[in-house]
């Protein structure tokens, strides 16, 4: 049966079995740490798309290890005792790799209006921008904001409108996740600028009471009508969601077919309507029966033909089913759906690793104090708990001056403030010493 005091005495002995000095290895080793993300996206030389910035450590060693002192406090009333173990000056050194995991930059406001970032900048209320002008938004922009804000309450005034909003809210995250992860969905969404033009047009039409979906106007460089693009984009969203979230995919389809049913609008049949007429139609429409809302996604009549199309196992019959509903697909649209679907599967694959820099990292640390609480248990064993450590790897040096480009700049800035990341490595070293002391306590029992 060992008393805490006798264990501490042995711990502080100069050497030999059961002593700390006699048990310390040459160094503590951490085989690997990370990889840890440093930034969401950076440009990388030699890559068209860049990727998310990461750092990974390997072969980290902390040493030489030498006991510089063991000091103890008195036993307290509850059989616990604190002991400070001081290790002499040492160095952490190891290897790092700075790299990017290849991924496209997200250049759409996927969390907001799903518009390209430059379009947003035009609406920005930059309080630091302008050459001495007051950084206010314009009256026109303000009107646009107020007008957009007024739309949802209008929709919510009718059961069918509220049902549409509920459906949108229910799958808000799923649609966001699809846009965030699927570069092809984003690409087809913003291709030719049609969506951005449609957004501006919708705003003007609501403001002036004119037609939202004109038959005689096209949008974007590809010359889409409002109906064509709106409904095709719903199919695109379906293709992006169907693998991960079939219910969200089905909701996008249902919305498209509900529009066709209630307003008579399809991709090719244009029934021009003003905002007021749209609201009146929604107002008079009956909400979908509960059974429709609960139906399995694959029960939607367009699900099977669309799935065949995105999996490239379709024939003319599948295209005819769509065409009969006024949803004709041309070859380019089929290709888009197939690419978006394929991308939704591909995003789960490991991303390519784009090297940016690698080398050695090191930091010298002075004497380090580790405070342990020793507690004698009812069965006379001694438990050891680390309660404080002065180990600090602040100043870990990577020779970062040579890191190239934007990635290098961002990595330097992020690592400078990444105290917790260094803390993870400190924790590994702390835990190795703790295990050693715990082992000695077990031996002494």
């Amino acid at each position: 049966m060992a008393s805490i005091q006798s264990f501490v005495t042995r711990l502080s002995d100069a050497g030999g079995p059961g002593t700390l000095t006699g048990s310390l290895p040459m160094q503590f080793s951490v085989a690997s740490a990370g990889p840890f993300p440093l930034a969401g996206h950076v440009a990388v030389a030699g890559s068209d798309v860049g990727g998310s910035l990461m750092i990974e450590y390997s072969e980290l060693e902390f040493g030489p290890l030498a006991v510089a002192g063991v000091t103890t406090g008195p036993d307290d009333d509850e059989g616990t005792h604190e002991v400070d173990v001081t290790l002499g000056a040492a160095q952490l050194q190891g290897h790092y790799e700075l790299f990017a995991l290849e991924s496209s930059r997200v250049d759409l406001d996927v969390g907001g209006a799903v518009q390209p970032f430059p379009a947003l900048e035009a609406l920005s209320m930059d309080p630091t921008g302008g050459a001495g002008d007051d950084p206010t938004i314009t009256e026109a922009q303000y009107d646009q904001i107020m007008q957009a804000n007024a739309q949802k309450p209008k929709l919510a005034e009718s059961p069918a409108g509220q049902q549409m909003l509920d459906s949108y809210n229910q799958y808000n995250d799923a649609y966001h996740d699809a846009f965030k992860s699927n570069a092809l969905l984003r690409q087809y969404w913003s291709a030719g600028g049609a969506i951005a033009e449609m957004s501006d047009h919708t705003s003007d039409a609501l403001d002036q009471g004119t037609v939202v979906n004109p038959a005689d106007k096209t949008f974007g460089t590809s010359g889409f009508t409002y109906n064509m693009n709106a409904l095709q984009q719903k199919f695109n969203v379906w293709a992006a969601c169907v693998n991960d979230n079939p219910a969200a995919a089905a909701a996008a389809l249902k919305f498209g077919t509900a529009v066709a049913t209630t307003t008579g609008n399809t991709k090719t049949t244009i029934n021009p309507m003003t905002g007021g007429e749209v609201y009146a139609t929604v107002d008079q429409a009956k909400p979908a029966p509960a059974a429709n809302l609960l139906a399995a996604p694959e029960e939607h009549p367009l699900h099977a033909p669309l799935l065949s199309i995105v999996q490239n196992s379709h024939d003319d019959r599948h295209l005819d089913i769509l065409a009969n509903q006024g949803m004709e697909l041309n070859d380019d649209e089929v290709k888009a759906l197939q690419e978006i679907y394929a991308e939704s599967l591909r995003v789960k694959d490991p991303a390519a690793r784009l090297p940016i820099a690698s080398g050695n990292c090191a930091v010298a640390v002075g004497e380090t104090v580790f405070r342990f609480r020793l507690t004698r248990q009812p069965n006379d064993t001694i438990t050891v708990k680390l309660v404080q450590s002065s180990l600090s790897l602040d100043g870990l040096d990577y020779g970062a001056g040579q890191w190239p480009g934007e990635a290098g700049d961002v990595a330097r800035e992020r690592l400078e403030s990444a105290a917790f990341l260094r803390g993870i490595i400190e924790d590994r070293i702390n835990s190795q010493l703790t295990r050693l002391v715990r082992g000695l306590a077990a031996q002494s029992a």
Binding site: D126, A148, P153, T381, K385, S389, S392, S417, F420, G423
Partner: protein
């Protein structure tokens, strides 16, 4: 033009952002005091101290989110009332959490359940919950704001569902499904209030739908990072600094993210796996050994990497907002969640 309209249109140049933030927090605290008044006969110093202490990160985030779209002048009263209600909602969850966990302490003080018994704690928690909802309902003053009340109800519902999800020890078959379930749980349990904070702040300050939506995703990412860091710190933070014993999640068999990663690499029959399956949680030296296994198998690193990824996501959602000291402050909060030093 209403105060909201003025706030939206007002110029931000020359605004002392720091002074505004202090004033916003002072007005928030005043609203909390006023919301506590009707409950005063039922509360003790303990509950009042819960409102007085703490970092107030949710109301801070809500007020800063409001400032993203209304960078100058006083915010509408309803924003401060909303922030007070949000904090009340949070305190309600803390009181109920301590009942569920049978926690003796909360922030170094006795928990309400320990000090006043479970029955009173449940009811005092309920009181906060209901008062929070009443506060939001009383704060709205336009038809459009009514949508916010619905959002608050949804968030409160989500928090309750998340708490129940967490108690369910069901482990899906694949690691992907297990993590999917984890995110669903924390989105409800933790991220829902952060999301609500941002959406409500922007909404009540007169922001656009797109800003409200984007703010919500910022809140979701921030809330996720916050919860994952809580999970990680549970393993690596020293007791004295954490104010609780390390490894509580493992001892309770909670399906925290580091434990889920450890389950993948150590397997269902490891001490970690057994604890997660409800087959006996490690104690004493066995608990310390199990925590070391978590370190060695890479589970901490993997979870911390996920937290950093969420924090980076949060920064992404801030980008489309106009540059301002308030946006910078939100950026700092997101970075601080994952960069705050360990064990200092």
């Amino acid at each position: 033009m209403s105060p909201t309209d003025q706030a939206v249109l007002a110029p931000a140049r020359g605004v002392d952002a720091e002074a505004l933030q202090k004033e916003d927090m002072a007005r928030f605290r005043a609203e909390v005091e006023s919301a506590l008044d009707p409950q005063a006969p039922y509360l003790t110093e303990l509950e009042f101290s819960m409102f007085a202490n703490g970092k107030k990160i949710r109301p801070r985030v809500m007020l800063l989110a409001a400032r993203l779209v209304a960078p100058a002048g006083p915010l509408p009263d309803k924003v401060y009332k909303g922030a007070a209600s949000l904090e009340m909602l949070h305190v309600a969850t803390l009181i109920h959490d301590d009942v569920i966990d049978e926690a003796p302490l909360r922030r170094g003080l006795p928990s309400v359940s320990a000090a006043r018994g479970t029955k009173i704690a449940v009811l005092v928690g309920d009181l906060q919950f209901v008062q929070a909802l009443r506060g939001f309902a009383a704060a709205v003053d336009t038809e459009r704001d009514m949508a916010l009340v619905r959002r608050v109800m949804d968030a409160a519902f989500d928090v309750c569902r998340g708490e129940l999800d967490e108690l369910d020890r069901f482990l899906p078959e694949t690691s992907e499904q297990r993590r999917e379930r984890y995110y669903k749980t924390i989105d409800r349990k933790t991220a829902a209030l952060f999301r609500l904070a941002c959406q409500a702040g922007i909404d009540l300050a007169g922001g656009r739908s797109r800003d409200i939506r984007r703010g919500g995703f910022f809140g979701r990412a921030l809330g996720r990072a916050f919860q994952i860091m809580d999970d990680v710190r549970d393993v690596v933070e020293l007791d004295a600094l954490a104010g609780k014993s390390a490894g509580v999640d493992l001892a309770l068999g909670r399906h925290s993210l580091p434990l889920l990663y450890a389950y993948d690499s150590l397997g269902p029959d490891s001490p970690v796996g057994r604890a997660m399956r409800g087959l006996g949680a490690p104690e004493g030296a066995d608990l310390e050994d199990a925590l070391d296994m978590l370190r060695d198998c890479g589970a901490i690193d993997a979870a911390y990497a996920d937290a950093r990824r969420e924090a980076e996501d949060a920064l992404f959602y801030l980008e489309p907002f106009p540059p301002s000291p308030f946006r910078d402050a939100l950026r700092r909060i997101a970075r601080e969640v994952v960069d705050r030093p360990l064990n200092r």
